[in-house]
Symmetry: C2
Subunit: 540 residues, 2 copies
């Protein structure tokens, strides 16, 4: 169990800071967007950086300069700058004081690091190890170029991030390979993929950090069976991404092993070999490196910018304001870009598995305040015709983050002037229309046609959804989530809350085994209750 009580900032916890109390007072009478939103505000309330393609517009948040000052005080009092530096130096930041849980550095930013002499040994070693994997990978891609159907057996973070990036960059794909995601123990998922692939042209990539995840092994077994039935030696077609020396690091069973490290959390793994292996096969190393460059730009930006110029920090502070002070329980993320259709699903994991926590990192005690919000959403304009009714006229409040791009991704020749505007212009018109109408509302005597307004939103904007811009957007969210954790004094890097379900599931799997042979299942509160369900549905 780690003790780092010599660290001065561990004396602070979110609700014990001076800024917290001041913000609580400010939140009693927040500014009303119906009154304050103006052209001047739109012009001035935006954070840009000449080295980045992303910018953040926050004119439609229920804040003013005074509240912003208080939020930056909170950031200082929670020592976000020092914590980010420790994080990126790979000091131990994944811990909860007094808990027997995870206790290690956090390495994802190192995956896109260009090593400098000033880096710590740990960072240097990790970055170089990853570079070696990428070199192995570049060679490997040439060897398997004849295989067109790529099946990725991966769950959770190993799946969601890769799927999100795959969809976001599809228009940059130069070959005719297709990526399938066997992301679920559900045998229907496996069966539907088997119907679509040509086994003779298929490569399977299995991802498991521990090399012992039951869901992964059970899904892989179905695919290996299928290859054997087709008289193809699975060893020739299976690749593994795992920790070195894990139970799956077995050259006799895999064509190739690529390595990952225990300080890469699943939900932060897309820039590691977890994303690199499938996505470089699809897009090539050049696109992959552009994507890493975008990530790296933001990693550097958060280290080198002063707090007032730090874009992810601003995003974090605004969300903490909405969640902890205005008591808004959820945040919707709405990209106006078809390519980002899987983005919200990935961000749900990044945000909610990181910051859906109930203990303070600095002392292991329960929090007395709300931590991470529910993150949900979907792409515009589709969601306008779905849940936006609720957002405009529902009985409770939410906050929103919109994502928009000046230009479309595909060739502009595939758009056209229709009724004197391009469809990209119509798309952007809808985006700005939502921000403005949510903020301003509409008064009328017919209550059913009334819009109360004063609904908060902000806008992350970029020129175009390129590989580099996508990297920036991903790192923007990764660091935003880290800053939220720093401010709320929680550990954003473990996931103890998924353990109980796993243990219970294994108990119930044992009950199913009793259908076929005599298995000694220890009776406990789970098995007793589970038996009632299994009997009820005639499953035993």
């Amino acid at each position: 169990m780690l003790k780092i009580d010599e660290d001065y900032w561990n004396m602070d916890s979110f609700d014990k800071t001076e800024a917290h109390d001041i913000l609580k007072k400010s939140a009693k009478k927040p500014p009303n967007l119906k009154e304050i939103l103006s052209s001047e505000r739109i012009k001035s309330m935006s954070l840009e950086n000449k080295d980045l393609s992303i910018s953040l517009s926050y004119a439609c948040e229920q804040i003013n300069e005074e509240i912003l000052d208080q939020l930056y005080d909170l950031a200082d009092q929670m020592h976000v700058k020092e914590k980010m530096k420790k994080l990126q130096s790979m000091e131990i930041m994944n811990y909860v004081q007094g808990s027997l849980g995870e206790n290690r550095p956090v390495g994802h930013a190192t995956m896109r690091k260009k090593v400098a002499s000033s880096d710590t040994e740990k960072v240097k070693k990790t970055a170089i190890s990853y570079q070696n994997e990428l070199e192995k990978l570049a060679q490997f891609i040439r060897e398997i170029d004849h295989l067109k159907h790529i099946v990725l057996i991966a769950i959770g973070g190993s799946y969601l991030g890769t799927d999100a990036v795959y969809n976001a960059l599809k228009c940059y794909q130069k070959n005719d390979k297709v990526l399938y995601f066997a992301s679920n123990i559900d045998p229907d998922k496996t069966a539907s993929i088997m119907e679509e692939i040509d086994i003779n042209e298929t490569l399977v990539i299995t991802v498991s950090k521990s090399g012992s995840t039951l869901e992964i092994k059970a899904t892989e077994a179905l695919f290996r069976k299928r290859f054997k039935e087709a008289n193809i030696n699975p060893k020739e077609r299976f690749v593994v991404v795992t920790s070195q020396s894990s139970p799956m690091d077995t050259p006799e069973e895999y064509l190739k092993s690529f390595y990952m490290w225990d300080y890469i959390g699943g939900r932060y793994s897309v820039s590691s070999t977890v994303g690199a292996v499938p996505l470089s096969i699809i897009f090539g190393m050049e696109i992959w490196n552009e994507f890493l460059e975008g990530l790296r730009n933001v990693d550097q930006h958060v280290l080198t910018s002063e707090n007032r110029k730090n874009i992810p920090l601003l995003g974090a502070l605004l969300s903490v304001w909405n969640r902890s002070f205005l008591n808004i329980p959820t945040q919707a993320i709405i990209p106006y870009s078809a390519g980002l259709k899987k983005w919200t699903a990935h961000l749900q994991q990044v945000f909610m598995e990181s910051n859906g926590k109930h203990v303070r990192q600095s002392n292991g005690e329960y929090v007395d305040y709300e931590t991470g919000a529910i993150i949900w959403g979907g792409i515009g304009t589709e969601t306008q015709h779905s849940f936006f009714q609720w957002i405009h006229q529902g009985s409770s409040e939410i906050s929103l983050e919109f994502i928009g791009f000046k230009s479309m991704q595909y060739s502009k020749s595939s758009d056209a002037l229709i009724q004197k505007t391009t469809n990209q212009e119509k798309l952007l018109s809808n985006l700005f229309a939502q921000m403005i109408s949510l903020a301003k509302g509409q008064d009328t005597s017919d209550h059913n046609k009334q819009f109360v307004g004063n609904r908060s939103s902000r806008l992350l904007f970029a020129e175009q959804l390129t590989p580099k811009a996508l990297g920036e957007i991903l790192a923007y969210y990764e660091h935003l989530v880290a800053y939220q954790g720093f401010i709320w004094d929680i550990n954003s890097f473990d996931q103890e809350g998924v353990q109980l379900g796993k243990v219970c599931a294994n108990d119930i799997i044992d009950l199913f085994k009793t259908k076929r042979e005599s298995v000694d299942v220890e009776e406990n509160s789970t098995t007793i209750l589970a038996k009632a369900y299994l009997n009820k549905f005639k499953l035993l």
Copy 2:
């Protein structure tokens, strides 16, 4: 403006009922699942019906028999039985007293009606009209059987329901047709579909009730342009689903017109021609009729069952309890079935566009209570590795609805015994493990490994995800939402909250037009603010 103040139940509103006050008291000390969940409770707290394949298990809800009695009293006092009867008789139920909004019957249940002599004339006429369309459709399917790529240009309800059903029944598809959804004005969406289809084998179905939706027309224009470039006459390949005599009911431009009616709301349209045309082309009329049969079974069930036996009503009462009395702001819906991957997106619309409302139907006054919850979710087990951390250990509470099936959809031969259980059994083990662990939690002195428990959930269960079961599940949710609206005294069938954004978007589109020609744009509060954004991002 409609006045139906002679209707006796319009005197009642949710928070004025006797049951409401009693339930408020009960909610001060709800039963704690950690203490009460038992095998006995699991056995008894379930509602089934011999004519239906779905059942609802509610042992893991924070209720007891006393609260259930009070909820059924609330249902009586809000006259749900009479309201459902009026709804299915196509009396005018889409209205808000005193508002100049929609004012018409609600027709979706009539889409699956077998006409009986006791039916009202309106129901008979509508049902027969739809049957005629289905006959036209059966003939049409044979005529266009050579076309393999089907593009559906549809937004909102015309898209989400169809996409949800398409994915849910994919394993029943007998031909090799592919359905593409041009569901967004986003030109990247259109461009990505154009890259995938073979224009020589493509049929386009355009759906627009009004025949004048700008997004639909602008997307269709891009596709028509593409056909012309390929020297194919668009008239030979474009089909329209619209209202009779709408601006799109133009035989000179379409190969065929299929009709819909103004009393079919978009989010309830999947059983009408809106879903029938694309989905029957994919699945054939036989599967379509099985799906309608499932819907019809539940339509009948809610009309003929006493309240205590009515499954969708129970679902509605439990959600009203969670939302209005326990103050839980969101509900996650988690199907453990890969086929239901688009289900949550569809239900978000059905629930949130229906019941994200702020005025009382009976008098047009604002509600003083919370109405529809935020609906979100995704499929298990994928979401277990994503946001379930938050659900188990986050700082606030949600309620859940799980959906599960005894058997997989694809042939059981595609599953196998791996470590002595099938993967379907492992999948179900995870489902029950989540319900039990959420309810029971886990006590330990390490706070970071503590699970507070007492998290509410329920389970909708069926034998297998067949077309008929899917119809039952869809109708379960459609009627559940209607019952929620009846109880909350809101109109679940209009969507005034989407209007303001549309008006603002058109104003901004006018601003874009000024880039190319002199257009007289009236200055208003939207255009002033929008100009600030457009100038900021150099869009003008």
